[in-house]
Amino acid sequence: MRSKNLTRLAATVMALALLAGCGGGSTSGGSGGEQAGQQGTKEIVLYNLKVEIDQALKSVAADFEKEKGIKVTVKSCGGSCDYNTQLKAEMESGREPDIFVIEGPGGLEVWKHKVADLSNEPWIQNVNPDLLGLKLDGKVVGFPVAIEGYGLMYNKDILDKAGVDPNSIKTYADLENAFKTIDAKKDELGLDAVVSYTLKETWVPGNHTFNIYLAARDNPDEFTDDFLAGKVDVTQDPIAKDFAKLLKLIIDYSDKDNLEVIDYNAQVVAFGTGKTAFLHQGNWVYPNLKDLQVSFDMGFIPFALNDSEYAAKIPVGVPSYYVVNKDSANIDAAKEFLNYIALTERGHKYMIEEASMIPAFNNVTLEPEDPLAKSIMKYNEEGRTLTWQFTKYTGDSFGQEVIAPIIAQYAKDGDMDKFLSSVNEAAKEYGSKK
């Protein structure tokens, strides 16, 4: 009898536990306000895309809490984490983030029913209108997290030893000569390859490299829209041929056999330890290079694809925007945190010193110590910038899942005509689905 009672007890406990588990999940779901009310302090959740600024963001969030009494919980997604996927999971998790990241118009298309209007926020006065790219029905909905730029990053020490002046590289011929000169002295300089490139991290070729084709021309916005709608004949486009030539140059002067196994870390380490003269990445690698304790000076040279004026420019843009969740219970607290970052000295210190970001705001007086940020600011001042067109298709992974494989295939067979017609077909197919 005793054992019977025990079994019954066990069964009841199990059933209750199960029900309690489900019940608990649903009461806390979607009600950040209630939770906050119970604890007496407001809490907002920020879902962050860049794992490299995780610590810096947590530290500014802690100071914000001390000053304003609003707790900011920072959740980060990065490295091999797939942000678009994880964001969907976060949204379904029952505690939607109050502030989350949208990478551009492609991502906005997915989340347009969730974003709050920010067009009356004080920080707007301090941003160059070009950088307020995330708009819904003419209203600003995105807070530019930072501006970023990328290009071919160079190691000044190696270039000096090889006798190459980075500031003189402005056309395709200049770039090819520089690569040849350095390649000839590879053993002497202790290099494994001239350029550190990757095809494994599909966002590098699919988004960043391919952007050169879309942006290095007149009216890039219009062209990209046409391209993505399948209205461009890529095979007849002279700039497409220039781009294919540039791509081949970069691939031929990198560790060609291993491009599909070199990941972000391997790529950065090769450059940071002086095994390559150039690195195809952006200023976001600076914290990684700092960890490697690099001593050499560096900067960017452009992806010179031909001899037009656009060949001497580098792509600078807003990689991601913070948006405020329209359905958040703490919408004002979320907006306040964004103003805190943009308008206070503590926020500026966070952006420039702690996170090594280049602020999009013109009220910042701090100077970055990061040479890559300085280089980008210089390009920016001289007006030598290209737009970021790839943000139009990152939401659907067109670059990573469609363009990147085509580039990898081109790296293997070097067949330019096939490459151009594959890109052409891919764009037509993408356009037909829209």
Binding site: A15, E92, V110, V261, E401, A408
Partner: protein
């Protein structure tokens, strides 16, 4: 009467929690999944959903990448099933011999199965991309100097190696249990009659453990078909190869293809349609295999 009521209470008391969990996390999502495969659902919470009939299934038929992944997965599952079962059976024979430290070997072979698939993929990625090439450099062996993950064919076998390493120990335990169940008197009688080691293995041991083969081959085939975690962390589809004039990810197995359709291309509903096709194929294969294997078993 009272006793049977009590029995029934206990029966349902135990059943309901499990049944509830099963319905909530398997049955309902499955039915919803079938429904979503006929819509244009994009996976974003709160967006409108429209019914579009069979359009998703028609699109799958014209999807080169899906076709590639499907063939690749079939090849992968067959090879993996053969290799894992051979290795596992070999190991099982080994650790049922009179060996010193035989329990240590059993534990050792079983251990990889305790490591999570994602972690394991990253560990092996490091071995293939960094450790083996360094070793190759040190030994002057040029065939080791290029990572196995850099070329489509070697990457395929790299994946087979990793999954064999992971699963062989587990399957070995099934064979060990079966081998221990083979009656010693039969083997002794055969030995007295002059049967050699091979003959005893071939004519007594193998038929006696046929049920273990059914279980193991079923288990490994289905598991290999569903392979996802190690695929993501080890290769994530790379390197690229050409298939029917298109550039495709050469090691993208079916589960990864479905995942990417749903989450990278933002075509959740089409991913769901692929998953339904996947499910039907998987069930068919499993049923055929069980049916074929049952016929071979020896009834005691």
């Amino acid at each position: 009467m009272r006793k049977s009521l009590q029995d029934r209470l206990v029966f349902w008391g135990f059943l309901i929690p499990t049944l509830f969990a099963f319905v909530m996390v398997i049955i309902i999502p499955f039915v919803l999944g079938i429904y979503y495969s006929f819509t244009n659902w994009k996976g974003a919470a709160g967006a409108a959903i429209n019914f579009i009939g069979l359009a998703n299934y028609r699109a799958v038929l014209h999807d080169t990448r899906f076709f590639y992944s499907f063939s690749l997965t079939a090849a992968y599952a067959l090879v993996a099933m053969a290799v894992i079962n051979l290795v596992a059976f070999g190991l099982a024979l080994l650790v049922t011999q009179e060996l010193k430290l035989r329990n240590l070997y059993r534990t050792g072979f079983f251990l990889p199965n305790m490591v999570g698939g994602l972690v394991l993929g990253y560990i092996w990625q490091f071995i293939y991309n960094a450790a083996l090439p360094e070793l190759g450099k040190a030994l002057g062996a040029s065939f080791l100097s290029r990572s196995m993950l850099a070329a489509p064919r070697s990457a395929f076998f790299a994946m087979i190696m990793v999954s064999s390493w992971q699963y062989a120990g587990y399957i070995m335990m099934i064979y060990v249990a079966a081998l221990q169940g083979v009656p010693q008197d039969l083997l002794e009688a055969a030995a007295i009659d002059g049967a050699g080691w091979w003959q005893r293995l071939r004519h007594i041991t193998l038929p006696m453990i046929a049920p273990a083969f059914t279980v193991s081959s079923f288990f490994t085939l289905v598991n290999s078909f569903k392979m996802f975690d190690t695929n993501v962390s080890l290769t994530n589809g790379a390197p690229i190869t050409e298939f029917m004039g298109e550039s495709v990810f050469s090691t993208e197995l079916l589960a990864l293809n479905i995942y990417k359709t749903a989450y990278s291309f933002n075509d959740t509903a089409q991913g769901q349609a692929k998953a339904i096709i996947f499910f039907v194929v998987l069930v068919t294969i499993s049923l055929i295999q069980v049916f074929l294997n049952k016929r071979r078993e020896v009834e005691m």
